[in-house]
């Protein structure tokens, strides 16, 4: 699959129309993980629109986005940047060897108070 096709697939999977973006940056302005992102939410939208996927697949933002949907709420054009980030994340984690979390390492990082919900959410977001 070439990059162009891959970008098309990601766009479809996101279910949002990135062409509507007017590059106002409101999504990034509202993002609580902005400082921890190498590529910002509005950039995800414009890179994917231009079909530039390589950088996105390697972005650390895939693991710092909190799926808080604030960007979706604020976008004045009805674009959903969170959906684009999710679609790229899926592209990464669905591939062979794409899992972010190693199950064997989990016991070292958790404590008694951790709710089941946290572990299930983490695996659903970062692994396949």
């Amino acid at each position: 699959m070439d990059r162009k096709e891959q970008a098309k697939l990601i766009k479809e999977r996101s279910g949002t129309d990135v062409r509507k973006c007017m590059k106002c940056g409101k999504c990034s302005g509202r993002c609580p993980a902005y400082a921890e992102m190498d590529i910002k939410p509005h950039q995800f939208v414009s890179y994917i629109e231009k079909g530039e996927v390589e950088k996105l697949l390697e972005s650390k933002s895939l693991y710092t986005c909190l799926s808080c949907f604030a960007c979706v709420e604020r976008c004045p054009r009805g674009v959903a940047p969170a959906n684009v980030i999710e679609a790229v994340r899926q592209e990464v984690v669905r591939a062979q060897g794409g899992n972010k979390v190693q199950a064997e390492k989990i016991p070292e990082t958790i404590n008694e108070a951790i709710p089941q919900q946290l572990l299930v959410s983490m695996f659903r977001k970062f692994n396949k």
């Binding site: 479809e12 279910g15 609580p32 808080c68 959903a80 969170a82 899926q90 919900q117 983490m122």
Partner: protein
């Protein structure tokens, strides 16, 4: 009217108080409810991608069972509510997901989003009424300054959740007033706590939860209330440690005199 109550996995284990007090208060308020039959985990996060169908099926099963029981599905955990409500919306409005989910599940009757997904707080506001709750309070939490913590999942995206004004919600403040306490409004009440990154990027979760708890403390809140076990965990473990966090049902139980 009978409500089919969906507790979810975490409320059966780490968040038992949220569930236990929730049930006691419903009994006290005379709400007719029963735990929904054969429920499964909702999946914890809403599968956003349009091509995700299998990961939505457990939620669809619950929604279809609720339809058979009368069509009112009562949720309590914010995350379960978010997932069930959004999957229900897909079953109503997304032809592709509805077709595939129904083909796979082969239910006796096709499911097309007929169930109403109602959060416990919505039940208090829309079906019981805060006035009635106020009247039922035997132990008003006088002189307590309480901050509402909404977080993300109950409010956004508001197009689907339709829970309250996403930028300036008031349902939990109204709840706090109804139980006799004083709500404290603070800037970060609808900001993210750090969610599911708290094991993979602990620093980020600490930063987010500390911002929320600092904002609450500076506004004068003595405690916070939440409906979400993950928010509870983050704010407690990763916050500033100066504002204790309670499940809203626990304070309701206290006010209604059913907490022992």
């Amino acid at each position: 009217m009978k409500f089919s109550y969906y507790p979810g996995c975490t409320l059966k284990t780490k968040a038992k108080q949220l569930d236990l007090y929730g049930r006691k208060c419903l009994e006290k308020l005379g709400v007719d409810f029963e735990e929904i039959k054969e429920w499964q985990c909702c999946g914890a996060v809403y599968p956003v991608s349009k091509d995700e169908v299998a990961t939505k099926l457990s939620a669809v099963r619950t929604l279809a069972n609720a339809k058979a029981e009368g069509g009112k599905l009562l949720t309590l955990c914010s995350a379960c509510h978010h997932v069930l409500k959004r999957v229900n919306d897909d079953m109503k409005n997304d032809d592709n997901i509805r077709l595939k989910a129904n083909n796979y599940l082969a239910l006796d009757e096709e499911y097309a989003g007929e169930t109403d997904v109602i959060h416990y707080l919505e039940l208090l506001r829309d079906y019981v009424g805060f006035d009635k709750i106020k009247a039922a309070v035997v132990n008003p939490l006088k002189n307590q300054k309480i901050g509402a913590y909404y977080g993300c999942l109950l409010l956004r995206p508001s197009e689907t959740l339709a829970f309250d004004n996403p930028e300036n919600p008031k349902i939990i403040e109204d709840f706090i007033t109804a139980i006799g306490a004083t709500p404290v409004t603070y800037a970060f009440r609808n900001e993210c706590c750090g969610a599911y990154v708290s094991t993979t990027s602990k620093d980020l979760a600490v930063k987010k939860s500390t911002k929320v708890t600092d904002s609450a403390k500076n506004a004068g809140a003595e405690k916070l209330v939440t409906a979400c076990p993950l928010c509870m965990y983050n704010l407690t473990e990763n916050g500033n440690g100066e504002v204790p966090v309670y499940y809203f049902t626990e304070l309701l139980a206290e006010a209604l005199g059913v907490k022992e």
